[in-house]
Each structure stands twice: as C-alpha cells, then as structure tokens.
Assembly symmetry: C2
Homo-oligomer: 301 residues x 2
Amino acid sequence: MKCRKCGTTAVINMRQHRLSLCQECFLEWVPHQVQRTIEKFHMFVPDDRVLGAVSGGKDSLALWDILLSLGYSADGIYIHLGISDGDYCDVSQQKVECFAAARDVRFQVVNVAQEYGQSIPQVARRKRGRSTCGTCGLVKRHIMNQVACDGRYAVLATGHNVDDEAAVLFQNALHWATGYLARQAPVLPASHPRLARKAKPLIRLYEREMAAYALLRGIDYIYDECPYSKGATTLFYKDLLNQLEEKSPGAKQQFYLSFLQARREGRLLPMKSGQVDMSVCQRCGQPTTAPELCAFCRLWD
Amino acid sequence: MKCRKCGTTAVINMRQHRLSLCQECFLEWVPHQVQRTIEKFHMFVPDDRVLGAVSGGKDSLALWDILLSLGYSADGIYIHLGISDGDYCDVSQQKVECFAAARDVRFQVVNVAQEYGQSIPQVARRKRGRSTCGTCGLVKRHIMNQVACDGRYAVLATGHNVDDEAAVLFQNALHWATGYLARQAPVLPASHPRLARKAKPLIRLYEREMAAYALLRGIDYIYDECPYSKGATTLFYKDLLNQLEEKSPGAKQQFYLSFLQARREGRLLPMKSGQVDMSVCQRCGQPTTAPELCAFCRLWD
C-alpha cells in the first residue's frame, strides 16, 4: 500500500476517504483538515485566544497539539471529576500535565471535589434523578463555560470527532428530538455575555484517525474509557454506526455532514426551532432556562 | 405467562407493548389495532371500496384477512413479476388464489411479462442504471395505481408494517433525504385524478406480530423472501433496527411514530417541502415529474 501523495509506504488506509498516506503525509493531512474545518465553519481566527477542553484522552490532546502546530494560541482546561476507579482522573491529569510541560503551554485545573465539596460520583449518587454521565456533562459544561468567560477566551474548543457527533445525531434522530437537532452544531456563537463561543474543530475526522494521529505524534494519552461509560447508550449507537460504516465506508461522515447541509439549506427544521428563552441564574450568573437557579447550582443544594 | 386480558395461557409476549395475550385475545387485538389506525389516519370509511395489494406474503394476506373480518369491502390485486427462481411468483400467486377461493373474494392478476412483453428480471437486466428492486418497485407502483384508478377504488391498501416503514425512514434519515422524508406517510391523498389514494393500515404492527397473526389464523403464505432481496440494503437497515429494538423494546415503533408526530407538529420539515411539480405522461396518462413519458413507460422502449 503506497502513500497517495508521495508514493512511499503508507501507514494508514482511510477507506472512507479512499486515501492511503505515509506517516509524514498523514501528520500533515490531519492538521490541514482541521484548519479547513476551522475556516469553513468560521470557528476562530489566528489572533483569537483559544481554550482547549482537555480530558487526557487522545482526541482532546491531539486537538491541542494540532492547534499549537497550526500556530494558534491555545491554553488548556482540565476538570478533575473525582473518579477514583483505577485512578482514572489522577492518571488522566498526569497525562495532561506531561503534555503541557513538554510544550511549555499553560493549563488550568479545576478539581470538582475541592471546589464544590463533592466529586461527580458523590453528587450523582445523591441526585437520583440524574445519571452519572448526565451529571458529569452538566458540571463540565458549566465549569468550562465559566473558565472560558472569566479568562476572556474567544472560544472554547472541544475534541468531538465525527464518531461522537454522528452518535449524538443518531440518538437525536431516533427520537426526533427536534430541539436538540436544531442546536447540535460545529460552532455555537456566544449568544449571551456569560456564554462562551464553542467550536468542534475535529468534526470531519474519525476516531480511528485521531488515535492514529496521537500514536504517530507520540502523544501519551489515557487509553481507558471512563469507568462509568460501560454500557452507555452512546457506545451502543457508536457500535451500530460502526456496522454501517463497515458496510458503507464514509456513511458516518456522510450522515453527519448531510444533516448540517440539509439544515443550512433550510430543508430541515423550520427556522427558530432551536431558540430557547433564557434567563440568568441568580447565583452564578450563567444563562439558564430555569426560573431562579441553574441546574448546576441546584446540584449542590 | 398469562394473557393480560383473560388470564388464560398466553401465546405471545409483546415486550414492545408490555402485553401478553392468548390466541383468542391476540386475534381480536390485531384487527382492533388496524381499525384504530384506519380511523386515526382517516384512511377510509366502511362504505369505501378498498383494493388490497397482495403479494402472497404474510403481511398483505393478513391485511386482506383483517379488512374482510372488519367488514370492509376489499378486493385484491396480485402482480406476477415473472421471477422464476424457485417458482417464486407462481407459488405466491397460488397462495393468493387459495386465499381468495376459500373466502370467495375477488382478485385480479396482472402478469407483467404477458402484459408488457418482459418480466421484471428481463427488463432490469436491460436497464442497467436501475437496480432490480428499483425497477420492480416502479412497475408495481404503476400497475397498482392503474388498477385502483381504472376500478374506481376509493383506496389502495398495502401491507407495510412498522418494520418496513421504520427501515425506509432509517434509510431516508441516514441520508437526510428531506424530499422523501416529506412524502413518507401512512396515507397519501389522491392529489390527481389518475393518482389513487394509498393507505398503510398495518403501520402500528410489528412484522413479528403479523407473522403470528397469519400463523394463528391459518393463513397459508409464501415464507421465502424474494430471491432478489438477498443482501438488500433495506434488510441491513432492518437488522440494525432489530438490534436497537432488542436493546430497547418499542424503539422501532417509537422511531416511526415520533417522526410522524414531529412532522405533523411542523417541528421537523418546512411547510410544502413534500410538494413536487407534476405533469402527465403522454402515453399512460399517469402523473409524472418527467417532461414527456413517465419512468414506467420509458422502461419498455
């Protein structure tokens, strides 16, 4: 198998793109894809200060690596969730620390238990109506938004790849959750002074490509999935989409990108269906759909 | 396992409805579901003359049986496609003949090869741009429409169950084919004098329920799938949906019915997105989107 660009031996064959590349060309190709995505969706510009949400996993560390290599000014935010099974959070924090130290870049840690008195597993056990993953998502979104706003970053960048986005889209399509369908986007504008702009520069790249990128760049990341993700519905949807991709390479990306296109062209979801009335949380000041306290602040009562 | 209605031994457990029924209650329950569907979607009324599209398979023969037992005046139309592998069409025609003779009901046969000079496999081989299944669908839709219009039937009823509809919806959602999404419906009005009203009274029932109904009613149907359906994409989509249903009973029906609801409420597609400009075929007089001859008439040139 030869590299399509230079003819030397290829290290990866991407059936979905009908493209085989050698290590050197692949490590050029990935950042080029990311740069194209950033430009196409007007995510941010070179002068913008970017805050990368890093978990210690392959996608977020690779994203940070790519943003730095493309010349963007990118700091990191790591949230320690207090998940102690297999030292999950301690190990992933170490991965982020090593990454940042080797590149001499800035990153900030928010330790949920230290900051708010309880870890994610503790607060999830107390709040029986919410799943652990639901609680975790809520807490992470809140803290990332707060750090991005407080630090006056132009944008918060997350490492969602096309597998992640397609799985969420699949879930929302299976339930025809039109409100969620209307709001799922590569870039979300800062529609409120206390709401950070959000961008997902990896949405055109497959999970497998990100794993290969991290490996070939020598990025040391945490291999384990979060211990709470076992049996998660999202993983089941990813499995179904993988079967689809296996049968028809490119189907996953096509599913996601044709959704964005249909919506952009006004063929799907009538205008304004994604709009939600917002008020402001009386405790933290972040926008919320609740009348007094936002869901995050109510967690700790 | 006890029947939820009468307490005797159940013969079927429908996890998706959390309902176990004995033979007698199940054979009452199925027609009741069909009657509710006919009324809810205003498909037809007791005085209407119904034309049932029958293939010799379990769904269409069970539908015919149910319509008759509900007191509707229902004739049948069988289309002989000229598929000779395993005597597929001859055997299925016999099943329809036996069914009709036993109940003394009227049915009409259209033999494609006799009527138009070539069987479906023959014309499909000649038309390389079209798949066999695509050609077959086109021919069947044309003939059924013609027979329904010529016979002045109020409605053409087909045996699509929720598995069929969910698979088509799944395919259209995976490609965000918004034109198709706009037109997939439980009932299609006769929007033109040469376009029959169409209805799908089985859309709330699972394939498994229809198989059980046919079995328990002693309906002799053709078990084999069409030999050309092997490896069909629709079967692959049905398999993915079955995995979903296995994990979450009811998911398939929920997927389909919540789609209808979202669209009805105007949350999914912009108004009028299903409308297509129609002209009339200069040979057969049926509506078409083509400028002169419809796709059916062009098949035979």
